[in-house]
């Protein structure tokens, strides 16, 4: 799994490549924690290049969403979510907890 982060004026873009499982999820959690620990709570997660995500990845997503939405200070939005990843989010009942965007540009513009 590879992670690329880009800091914008009002938000942070996190692009993940590869497989998010119990072996790699801690690395994603660390990256997201670094952003929120810096007081930045508007995060766009670009999942276009994610081939696989288990509940370990879902746990990271929900944990970060909780942190960001607290005190109404921000949110995590999901961009370019592949169908299989979306299906897992749906199976977990997480779809109502996130806003979804077809591409990163729309996501950056709306957050």
């Amino acid at each position: 799994m590879d992670i690329t982060t880009t800091q914008y004026k009002h938000s942070d873009l996190v692009k993940v490549n590869g497989r998010i499982d119990s072996a790699t999820a801690p690395q994603l959690a660390k990256t997201l924690d670094e952003i929120t620990n810096a007081g930045r709570y508007r995060i766009i997660l670009d999942l276009e290049e994610v081939e696989f995500m288990s509940s370990a990845g879902l746990r990271v997503l929900i944990g970060t969403q909780k942190t960001c939405k607290r005190y109404n200070r921000g949110e995590v939005v999901l961009a370019s979510v592949p169908k299989r990843i979306y299906d897992a989010l749906e199976l977990a009942g997480f779809v109502p907890l996130f806003r979804f965007f077809d591409n990163v540009l729309d996501a950056v513009g709306s957050i």
Binding site: D21, A23, S54, S55, I62, R84, A88, G93, F94
Partner: protein
Amino acid sequence: MNSTYTAIYSARFENLDRVRDFVAELAEKCGLEPAAVYAVQLAVDEAFTNIIEHAYGGESEEKIECACQIEKDALVITLRDCGKPFDPTAVPEPDFEADLEDREVGGLGLYFIHQLMDEVQFIFVDQPETGKTCNLLRMVKRKEK
């Protein structure tokens, strides 16, 4: 004729990639659709993770055996460990109505396994030679008709 393929891994998260690739190859060989192949990978990943976390209490050099049997109309996967006996009834179902703040992710792996596979069975096997009880998790994914 049915054929069985077996692989043995140590209980480490870095082996998730290997066990997922192992079952994916056999699921394809079995003739499952791509979506079903992914479902098998996800179910096996969740089961393997649960064994490491719960049966063995974390990563270790203990073993997890994965056996796949290709049948005419299905793939049968059996994961075997000799860690703590697993009681699936002790795992609460996820609460899908909870607010974000109260949303828990524990139990999601087991829920996924049940949703993704057509048949799920937990079997305990006594090992008289070691005095241990081993856990067998048998999962079946059937081909679409």
